[in-house]
Protein backbone atom coordinates (compact mmCIF):
# COMPACT_ATOMS: atom_id res chain seq x y z
CA UNK A 1 0.00 0.00 0.00
CA UNK A 2 1.52 3.37 -0.91
CA UNK A 3 1.91 5.96 1.86
CA UNK A 4 -0.52 8.39 0.34
CA UNK A 5 -3.39 5.88 0.29
CA UNK A 6 -2.58 4.98 3.92
CA UNK A 7 -2.84 8.63 4.83
CA UNK A 8 -6.16 8.88 3.00
CA UNK A 9 -7.47 5.94 4.95
CA UNK A 10 -6.45 7.49 8.27
CA UNK A 11 -8.17 10.73 7.26
CA UNK A 12 -11.29 8.79 6.29
CA UNK A 13 -11.40 6.98 9.62
CA UNK A 14 -10.95 10.25 11.48
CA UNK A 15 -13.87 11.64 9.53
CA UNK A 16 -15.97 8.63 10.47
CA UNK A 17 -15.16 9.05 14.15
CA UNK A 18 -16.13 12.69 13.92
CA UNK A 19 -19.40 11.74 12.26
CA UNK A 20 -20.28 9.09 14.81
CA UNK A 21 -19.53 11.53 17.63
CA UNK A 22 -22.22 13.73 16.19
CA UNK A 23 -24.66 10.86 15.87
CA UNK A 24 -28.13 11.98 16.73
CA UNK A 25 -31.08 10.14 18.21
CA UNK A 26 -32.13 7.11 16.11
CA UNK A 27 -35.07 7.98 13.91
CA UNK A 28 -34.32 11.67 13.72
CA UNK A 29 -33.54 13.35 10.43
CA UNK A 30 -30.00 14.08 11.58
CA UNK A 31 -29.54 10.39 12.41
CA UNK A 32 -30.46 9.33 8.89
CA UNK A 33 -28.28 12.06 7.40
CA UNK A 34 -25.33 10.91 9.46
CA UNK A 35 -26.04 7.27 8.61
CA UNK A 36 -26.10 8.07 4.89
CA UNK A 37 -22.88 10.03 5.20
CA UNK A 38 -21.26 7.19 7.13
CA UNK A 39 -22.24 4.63 4.51
CA UNK A 40 -21.18 6.85 1.61
CA UNK A 41 -17.87 7.81 3.21
CA UNK A 42 -17.09 4.20 4.00
CA UNK A 43 -17.91 3.23 0.45
CA UNK A 44 -15.64 5.89 -0.99
CA UNK A 45 -12.75 5.34 1.39
CA UNK A 46 -12.82 1.57 1.62
CA UNK A 47 -13.44 -0.70 -1.36
CA UNK A 48 -14.41 -3.61 0.83
CA UNK A 49 -16.90 -1.43 2.67
CA UNK A 50 -18.31 -0.35 -0.68
CA UNK A 51 -18.88 -3.96 -1.61
CA UNK A 52 -20.49 -4.56 1.75
CA UNK A 53 -23.02 -1.76 1.49
CA UNK A 54 -23.58 -1.53 -2.25
CA UNK A 55 -26.19 -4.34 -2.44
CA UNK A 56 -28.29 -2.63 0.24
CA UNK A 57 -28.10 0.64 -1.66
CA UNK A 58 -29.13 -1.12 -4.90
CA UNK A 59 -32.00 -2.96 -3.16
CA UNK A 60 -33.13 0.26 -1.48
CA UNK A 61 -33.12 2.17 -4.77
CA UNK A 62 -35.10 -0.57 -6.56
CA UNK A 63 -37.61 -0.71 -3.69
CA UNK A 64 -38.02 3.06 -3.72
CA UNK A 65 -38.50 3.13 -7.51
CA UNK A 66 -41.09 0.32 -7.40
CA UNK A 67 -43.03 1.94 -4.53
CA UNK A 68 -43.04 5.36 -6.22
CA UNK A 69 -44.08 3.93 -9.61
CA UNK A 70 -46.89 1.84 -8.07
CA UNK A 71 -48.10 4.83 -6.04
CA UNK A 72 -48.07 7.13 -9.09
CA UNK A 73 -49.76 4.65 -11.39
CA UNK A 74 -52.40 3.67 -8.83
CA UNK A 75 -53.64 7.22 -8.47
CA UNK A 76 -57.04 7.63 -10.05
CA UNK A 77 -56.63 9.01 -13.52
CA UNK A 78 -58.33 12.38 -13.43
CA UNK A 79 -57.85 13.27 -17.04
CA UNK A 80 -61.46 14.35 -17.32
CA UNK A 81 -61.99 15.90 -13.93
CA UNK A 82 -63.14 19.47 -13.46
CA UNK A 83 -59.72 20.62 -12.20
CA UNK A 84 -58.17 19.93 -15.55
CA UNK A 85 -61.15 20.98 -17.60
CA UNK A 86 -62.55 23.89 -15.68
CA UNK A 87 -65.10 24.74 -18.30
CA UNK A 88 -66.60 21.28 -18.25
CA UNK A 89 -67.80 20.12 -14.86
CA UNK A 90 -68.25 16.55 -15.95
CA UNK A 91 -66.66 13.15 -16.33
CA UNK A 92 -67.98 12.82 -19.85
CA UNK A 93 -65.57 12.61 -22.75
CA UNK A 94 -64.89 15.99 -24.24
CA UNK A 95 -67.14 15.23 -27.19
CA UNK A 96 -64.33 14.65 -29.63
CA UNK A 97 -66.09 13.76 -32.85
CA UNK A 98 -66.27 10.00 -33.39
CA UNK A 99 -63.99 8.75 -36.12
CA UNK A 100 -66.94 7.57 -38.18
CA UNK A 101 -70.63 8.27 -38.28
CA UNK A 102 -72.35 6.23 -35.59
CA UNK A 103 -74.64 3.56 -36.93
CA UNK A 104 -78.19 3.45 -35.60
CA UNK A 105 -78.13 0.08 -33.85
CA UNK A 106 -81.18 -2.13 -33.56
CA UNK A 107 -84.44 -0.30 -34.35
CA UNK A 108 -86.74 0.34 -31.39
CA UNK A 109 -84.07 -0.43 -28.81
CA UNK A 110 -85.08 -1.81 -25.44
CA UNK A 111 -85.47 1.15 -23.10
CA UNK A 112 -86.63 1.79 -19.57
CA UNK A 113 -87.90 5.15 -18.34
CA UNK A 114 -89.55 8.10 -20.02
CA UNK A 115 -89.82 8.21 -23.81
CA UNK A 116 -89.05 11.93 -23.81
CA UNK A 117 -86.72 11.99 -20.81
CA UNK A 118 -84.21 14.83 -20.55
CA UNK A 119 -81.40 12.33 -20.04
CA UNK A 120 -80.70 9.30 -22.18
CA UNK A 121 -78.38 6.72 -20.69
CA UNK A 122 -77.21 4.30 -23.37
CA UNK A 123 -75.50 1.21 -22.05
CA UNK A 124 -73.36 -1.18 -24.10
CA UNK A 125 -73.35 -4.41 -22.19
CA UNK A 126 -72.44 -8.09 -22.34
CA UNK A 127 -74.57 -10.48 -20.30
CA UNK A 128 -71.58 -12.65 -19.45
CA UNK A 129 -69.28 -9.80 -18.41
CA UNK A 130 -68.90 -9.79 -14.61
CA UNK A 131 -68.38 -6.02 -14.56
CA UNK A 132 -71.74 -5.55 -16.33
CA UNK A 133 -73.34 -7.88 -13.78
CA UNK A 134 -71.74 -5.82 -11.03
CA UNK A 135 -73.02 -2.50 -12.36
CA UNK A 136 -76.52 -3.71 -13.23
CA UNK A 137 -78.11 -3.40 -9.75
CA UNK A 138 -76.84 0.20 -9.65
CA UNK A 139 -78.42 0.97 -13.02
CA UNK A 140 -81.70 -0.56 -11.90
CA UNK A 141 -81.65 1.52 -8.75
CA UNK A 142 -80.93 4.65 -10.83
CA UNK A 143 -83.82 3.76 -13.14
CA UNK A 144 -86.14 3.34 -10.14
CA UNK A 145 -85.06 6.61 -8.52
CA UNK A 146 -85.15 8.83 -11.60
CA UNK A 147 -88.20 7.20 -13.16
CA UNK A 148 -89.46 9.09 -16.20
CA UNK A 149 -86.61 11.62 -16.11
CA UNK A 150 -84.03 9.14 -17.42
CA UNK A 151 -84.32 6.87 -20.43
CA UNK A 152 -82.07 3.81 -20.07
CA UNK A 153 -81.32 2.26 -23.46
CA UNK A 154 -79.78 -1.20 -23.53
CA UNK A 155 -77.41 -2.10 -26.38
CA UNK A 156 -76.06 -5.61 -26.83
CA UNK A 157 -72.31 -5.76 -27.01
CA UNK A 158 -71.49 -9.48 -26.66
CA UNK A 159 -67.73 -9.99 -26.59
CA UNK A 160 -66.31 -12.93 -28.49
CA UNK A 161 -64.19 -13.99 -25.53
CA UNK A 162 -67.37 -14.85 -23.59
CA UNK A 163 -68.67 -18.08 -25.05
CA UNK A 164 -72.28 -17.65 -23.84
CA UNK A 165 -72.56 -13.88 -24.28
CA UNK A 166 -74.21 -14.12 -27.71
CA UNK A 167 -76.68 -16.86 -26.80
CA UNK A 168 -77.55 -14.93 -23.62
CA UNK A 169 -78.21 -11.84 -25.73
CA UNK A 170 -80.40 -14.03 -27.98
CA UNK A 171 -82.29 -15.22 -24.88
CA UNK A 172 -82.97 -11.63 -23.85
CA UNK A 173 -84.11 -10.75 -27.38
CA UNK A 174 -86.28 -13.90 -27.53
CA UNK A 175 -87.94 -12.85 -24.28
CA UNK A 176 -88.25 -9.36 -25.77
CA UNK A 177 -90.18 -10.88 -28.69
CA UNK A 178 -92.79 -11.82 -26.09
CA UNK A 179 -92.58 -8.40 -24.39
CA UNK A 180 -90.38 -9.39 -21.47
CA UNK A 181 -86.90 -8.21 -22.47
CA UNK A 182 -86.17 -6.36 -19.23
CA UNK A 183 -87.48 -9.16 -17.04
CA UNK A 184 -85.14 -11.61 -18.80
CA UNK A 185 -82.33 -9.03 -18.69
CA UNK A 186 -82.68 -8.82 -14.91
CA UNK A 187 -82.82 -12.60 -14.50
CA UNK A 188 -79.74 -13.09 -16.69
CA UNK A 189 -77.69 -10.71 -14.57
CA UNK A 190 -79.12 -11.96 -11.27
CA UNK A 191 -78.21 -15.54 -12.17
CA UNK A 192 -75.06 -14.83 -14.18
CA UNK A 193 -72.90 -17.12 -12.06
CA UNK A 194 -75.24 -20.09 -12.63
CA UNK A 195 -75.50 -20.09 -16.42
CA UNK A 196 -71.91 -18.99 -17.07
CA UNK A 197 -70.71 -22.30 -15.63
CA UNK A 198 -73.47 -24.43 -17.13
CA UNK A 199 -72.45 -26.96 -19.80
CA UNK A 200 -75.44 -25.89 -21.93
CA UNK A 201 -77.13 -22.64 -20.86
CA UNK A 202 -80.15 -22.96 -23.20
CA UNK A 203 -82.03 -25.15 -20.71
CA UNK A 204 -81.42 -22.67 -17.93
CA UNK A 205 -82.58 -19.81 -20.16
CA UNK A 206 -85.72 -21.81 -20.97
CA UNK A 207 -86.32 -22.28 -17.24
CA UNK A 208 -86.07 -18.49 -16.78
CA UNK A 209 -88.57 -18.06 -19.64
CA UNK A 210 -90.93 -20.45 -17.86
CA UNK A 211 -90.47 -18.50 -14.64
CA UNK A 212 -91.47 -15.33 -16.50
CA UNK A 213 -94.57 -17.03 -17.82
CA UNK A 214 -93.41 -17.01 -21.44
CA UNK A 215 -94.37 -19.52 -24.09
CA UNK A 216 -91.29 -21.72 -23.64
CA UNK A 217 -91.62 -23.54 -26.95
CA UNK A 218 -91.74 -20.27 -28.83
CA UNK A 219 -88.89 -18.92 -26.70
CA UNK A 220 -86.70 -21.89 -27.64
CA UNK A 221 -87.51 -21.41 -31.32
CA UNK A 222 -86.83 -17.66 -31.06
CA UNK A 223 -83.36 -18.35 -29.67
CA UNK A 224 -82.37 -19.21 -33.25
CA UNK A 225 -84.30 -16.44 -35.00
CA UNK A 226 -82.05 -14.67 -37.50
CA UNK A 227 -83.80 -11.29 -37.26
CA UNK A 228 -83.19 -11.25 -33.49
CA UNK A 229 -79.52 -12.14 -34.02
CA UNK A 230 -79.36 -9.28 -36.51
CA UNK A 231 -80.62 -6.88 -33.84
CA UNK A 232 -77.73 -7.92 -31.59
CA UNK A 233 -75.25 -7.47 -34.45
CA UNK A 234 -76.69 -4.04 -35.23
CA UNK A 235 -76.21 -2.97 -31.60
CA UNK A 236 -72.66 -4.31 -31.66
CA UNK A 237 -71.92 -2.44 -34.89
CA UNK A 238 -73.24 0.74 -33.30
CA UNK A 239 -70.88 0.20 -30.38
CA UNK A 240 -67.93 -0.26 -32.72
CA UNK A 241 -68.90 2.90 -34.63
CA UNK A 242 -68.95 4.77 -31.31
CA UNK A 243 -65.50 3.44 -30.47
CA UNK A 244 -66.72 1.16 -27.69
CA UNK A 245 -63.87 -1.12 -26.69
CA UNK A 246 -65.25 -2.91 -23.66
CA UNK A 247 -68.21 -3.39 -21.40
CA UNK A 248 -69.97 -1.87 -19.63
CA UNK A 249 -69.69 1.39 -21.56
CA UNK A 250 -72.15 4.13 -20.68
CA UNK A 251 -73.12 7.09 -22.83
CA UNK A 252 -75.05 9.92 -21.27
CA UNK A 253 -76.82 12.10 -23.81
CA UNK A 254 -74.51 10.77 -26.49
CA UNK A 255 -71.21 11.26 -24.70
CA UNK A 256 -69.16 8.45 -23.24
CA UNK A 257 -68.83 8.48 -19.47
CA UNK A 258 -65.27 8.01 -18.19
CA UNK A 259 -63.82 6.50 -21.38
CA UNK A 260 -61.70 3.43 -20.77
CA UNK A 261 -62.73 3.12 -17.14
CA UNK A 262 -65.45 1.42 -15.18
CA UNK A 263 -67.92 4.01 -13.91
CA UNK A 264 -69.61 3.39 -10.58
CA UNK A 265 -73.28 3.94 -9.79
CA UNK A 266 -72.28 7.18 -8.05
CA UNK A 267 -70.40 8.43 -11.13
CA UNK A 268 -73.49 7.81 -13.25
CA UNK A 269 -75.80 9.51 -10.72
CA UNK A 270 -73.50 12.54 -10.61
CA UNK A 271 -73.55 12.89 -14.37
CA UNK A 272 -77.31 12.46 -14.57
CA UNK A 273 -77.76 15.12 -11.87
CA UNK A 274 -75.45 17.44 -13.79
CA UNK A 275 -77.39 16.84 -17.00
CA UNK A 276 -80.72 17.38 -15.22
CA UNK A 277 -79.66 20.56 -13.45
CA UNK A 278 -80.60 23.78 -15.33
CA UNK A 279 -76.92 24.51 -16.06
CA UNK A 280 -76.44 21.10 -17.58
CA UNK A 281 -79.27 21.47 -20.03
Amino acid sequence: MCPSSGARRVRGEARLRALSARAAEPGSLLYFRNLTRTVLSRMSSNPEGAKRYAPFVIIGVVLAVVVVVIALMSRPNNANTPTQQPTQNTLLSSASAPQRTPTAGAPNPHARGGEKAAVTLEEFSDFQCPACGGLDPGLRSISRDYGERVRWVFRNFPLSMHKYAFIAARAAEAAGAQGKFWEMHDLLYDNQKDWVDAPEPRDLFASYAARLGLDVQRFRADLDRQDLADRIKADYERGISLNVRGTPTIFINGRELMPGKLPSEQDIRREIDAALSPAGK
Binding site: E48, K51, R52, A54, P55, I58, I59, V62, L63, V66, V69, I70, M73, S74, P76, N77, D126, C129, P130, A131, C132, G134, L159, S160, M161, H162, R245, G246, T247, P248, G260, K261, L262
Partner: protein, 156 residues
Amino acid sequence: MSTEAFEKSGARPRGLWWDAATALVALVGLTDAAYLTVEHMTGRSVRCMIVSGCDEVLQSSYATLAAGIPVAAVGALAYFAVFSLATLAAFGYGGARRLLAPLVAVMFLATLWFFYLQAFRIHAFCAYCLLSAAVTTTLTLLVFARRLTDSEKRLS
Protein backbone atom coordinates in the same frame (compact mmCIF):
# COMPACT_ATOMS: atom_id res chain seq x y z
CA MET B 1 -28.93 -10.81 6.77
CA SER B 2 -25.92 -10.53 9.06
CA THR B 3 -22.73 -9.14 7.65
CA GLU B 4 -20.89 -12.14 9.12
CA ALA B 5 -22.13 -14.06 6.10
CA PHE B 6 -20.10 -11.74 3.92
CA GLU B 7 -17.42 -13.62 2.02
CA LYS B 8 -14.13 -11.92 2.49
CA SER B 9 -12.21 -14.56 0.61
CA GLY B 10 -11.60 -13.20 -2.87
CA ALA B 11 -11.87 -10.09 -4.93
CA ARG B 12 -14.79 -11.59 -6.83
CA PRO B 13 -17.38 -13.85 -5.21
CA ARG B 14 -17.96 -17.23 -6.77
CA GLY B 15 -20.65 -17.38 -9.44
CA LEU B 16 -21.07 -13.61 -9.73
CA TRP B 17 -22.64 -13.89 -13.16
CA TRP B 18 -25.19 -16.44 -12.04
CA ASP B 19 -26.30 -14.13 -9.24
CA ALA B 20 -26.30 -11.05 -11.45
CA ALA B 21 -28.39 -12.87 -14.07
CA THR B 22 -30.80 -14.09 -11.38
CA ALA B 23 -31.18 -10.54 -10.06
CA LEU B 24 -31.82 -9.14 -13.54
CA VAL B 25 -34.41 -11.79 -14.41
CA ALA B 26 -36.09 -11.21 -11.03
CA LEU B 27 -36.22 -7.50 -11.90
CA VAL B 28 -38.19 -8.36 -15.06
CA GLY B 29 -40.59 -10.40 -12.91
CA LEU B 30 -40.85 -7.58 -10.39
CA THR B 31 -41.77 -5.08 -13.12
CA ASP B 32 -44.37 -7.47 -14.53
CA ALA B 33 -45.93 -8.24 -11.13
CA ALA B 34 -45.91 -4.56 -10.15
CA TYR B 35 -47.77 -3.73 -13.38
CA LEU B 36 -50.34 -6.45 -12.67
CA THR B 37 -50.75 -5.16 -9.11
CA VAL B 38 -51.46 -1.67 -10.42
CA GLU B 39 -53.92 -3.09 -12.97
CA HIS B 40 -55.64 -4.98 -10.19
CA MET B 41 -55.78 -2.06 -7.77
CA THR B 42 -56.98 0.53 -10.27
CA GLY B 43 -59.64 -1.79 -11.59
CA ARG B 44 -58.70 -0.94 -15.16
CA SER B 45 -58.92 -4.62 -16.01
CA VAL B 46 -62.26 -4.98 -14.28
CA ARG B 47 -64.06 -4.06 -17.49
CA CYS B 48 -64.42 -6.67 -20.21
CA MET B 49 -62.47 -5.68 -23.29
CA ILE B 50 -62.84 -6.60 -26.95
CA VAL B 51 -59.23 -7.66 -27.04
CA SER B 52 -59.13 -10.32 -24.39
CA GLY B 53 -56.23 -9.66 -22.12
CA CYS B 54 -55.82 -10.17 -18.47
CA ASP B 55 -59.31 -9.04 -17.49
CA GLU B 56 -60.69 -12.59 -17.44
CA VAL B 57 -57.86 -13.73 -15.21
CA LEU B 58 -57.65 -10.64 -13.01
CA GLN B 59 -61.42 -10.55 -12.55
CA SER B 60 -61.56 -14.15 -11.43
CA SER B 61 -61.86 -15.06 -7.78
CA TYR B 62 -58.41 -16.66 -8.01
CA ALA B 63 -56.78 -13.25 -8.48
CA THR B 64 -57.38 -12.23 -4.88
CA LEU B 65 -56.35 -13.90 -1.64
CA ALA B 66 -58.63 -14.24 1.37
CA ALA B 67 -57.86 -10.83 2.86
CA GLY B 68 -58.41 -9.01 -0.43
CA ILE B 69 -54.70 -8.99 -1.19
CA PRO B 70 -54.04 -9.24 -4.94
CA VAL B 71 -52.06 -12.34 -5.91
CA ALA B 72 -49.99 -10.06 -8.16
CA ALA B 73 -48.83 -8.10 -5.10
CA VAL B 74 -47.60 -11.31 -3.46
CA GLY B 75 -45.81 -12.09 -6.72
CA ALA B 76 -44.18 -8.65 -6.69
CA LEU B 77 -42.97 -9.27 -3.12
CA ALA B 78 -41.58 -12.67 -4.11
CA TYR B 79 -39.70 -11.22 -7.09
CA PHE B 80 -38.39 -8.43 -4.90
CA ALA B 81 -37.14 -11.03 -2.39
CA VAL B 82 -35.39 -12.98 -5.17
CA PHE B 83 -33.87 -9.78 -6.53
CA SER B 84 -32.62 -8.78 -3.06
CA LEU B 85 -31.18 -12.19 -2.24
CA ALA B 86 -29.48 -12.51 -5.64
CA THR B 87 -28.04 -8.99 -5.34
CA LEU B 88 -26.71 -9.78 -1.86
CA ALA B 89 -25.27 -13.05 -3.17
CA ALA B 90 -23.64 -11.23 -6.09
CA PHE B 91 -21.83 -9.01 -3.59
CA GLY B 92 -20.59 -11.94 -1.58
CA TYR B 93 -23.30 -12.61 0.99
CA GLY B 94 -23.21 -16.39 0.76
CA GLY B 95 -26.10 -16.87 3.19
CA ALA B 96 -28.49 -15.14 0.80
CA ARG B 97 -27.73 -17.68 -1.90
CA ARG B 98 -28.86 -20.55 0.32
CA LEU B 99 -32.30 -18.95 0.73
CA LEU B 100 -32.74 -18.50 -3.02
CA ALA B 101 -33.33 -22.15 -3.89
CA PRO B 102 -36.27 -22.82 -1.51
CA LEU B 103 -37.90 -19.48 -2.37
CA VAL B 104 -37.64 -20.07 -6.12
CA ALA B 105 -38.90 -23.65 -5.67
CA VAL B 106 -42.05 -22.36 -3.92
CA MET B 107 -42.52 -19.75 -6.65
CA PHE B 108 -42.22 -22.41 -9.34
CA LEU B 109 -44.89 -24.53 -7.65
CA ALA B 110 -47.13 -21.46 -7.43
CA THR B 111 -46.52 -20.83 -11.15
CA LEU B 112 -47.63 -24.38 -12.00
CA TRP B 113 -50.80 -23.81 -9.95
CA PHE B 114 -51.54 -20.51 -11.73
CA PHE B 115 -50.99 -22.16 -15.10
CA TYR B 116 -53.45 -24.89 -14.14
CA LEU B 117 -55.99 -22.25 -13.00
CA GLN B 118 -55.72 -20.33 -16.28
CA ALA B 119 -55.95 -23.45 -18.43
CA PHE B 120 -58.63 -25.45 -16.63
CA ARG B 121 -60.54 -23.15 -14.29
CA ILE B 122 -60.60 -19.67 -15.82
CA HIS B 123 -60.24 -20.88 -19.44
CA ALA B 124 -58.27 -17.77 -20.36
CA PHE B 125 -54.61 -16.90 -20.49
CA CYS B 126 -53.20 -13.58 -19.49
CA ALA B 127 -50.05 -12.55 -21.37
CA TYR B 128 -48.57 -10.83 -18.33
CA CYS B 129 -49.23 -13.89 -16.17
CA LEU B 130 -47.56 -16.05 -18.82
CA LEU B 131 -44.56 -13.71 -18.82
CA SER B 132 -44.41 -14.15 -15.06
CA ALA B 133 -44.51 -17.93 -15.52
CA ALA B 134 -41.63 -17.68 -18.01
CA VAL B 135 -39.64 -15.51 -15.59
CA THR B 136 -40.15 -17.91 -12.68
CA THR B 137 -39.21 -20.87 -14.86
CA THR B 138 -36.03 -19.07 -15.95
CA LEU B 139 -35.24 -18.25 -12.32
CA THR B 140 -35.76 -21.89 -11.35
CA LEU B 141 -33.45 -23.04 -14.16
CA LEU B 142 -30.81 -20.44 -13.21
CA VAL B 143 -30.83 -21.26 -9.51
CA PHE B 144 -30.84 -25.03 -9.87
CA ALA B 145 -28.40 -25.16 -12.82
CA ARG B 146 -26.07 -23.11 -10.71
CA ARG B 147 -26.40 -25.50 -7.78
CA LEU B 148 -25.66 -28.40 -10.13
CA THR B 149 -22.50 -26.77 -11.50
CA ASP B 150 -21.41 -25.93 -7.95
CA SER B 151 -21.82 -29.49 -6.75
CA GLU B 152 -19.99 -30.79 -9.84
CA LYS B 153 -17.10 -28.46 -9.07
CA ARG B 154 -17.02 -29.67 -5.49
CA LEU B 155 -16.98 -33.31 -6.64
CA SER B 156 -14.14 -32.71 -9.08
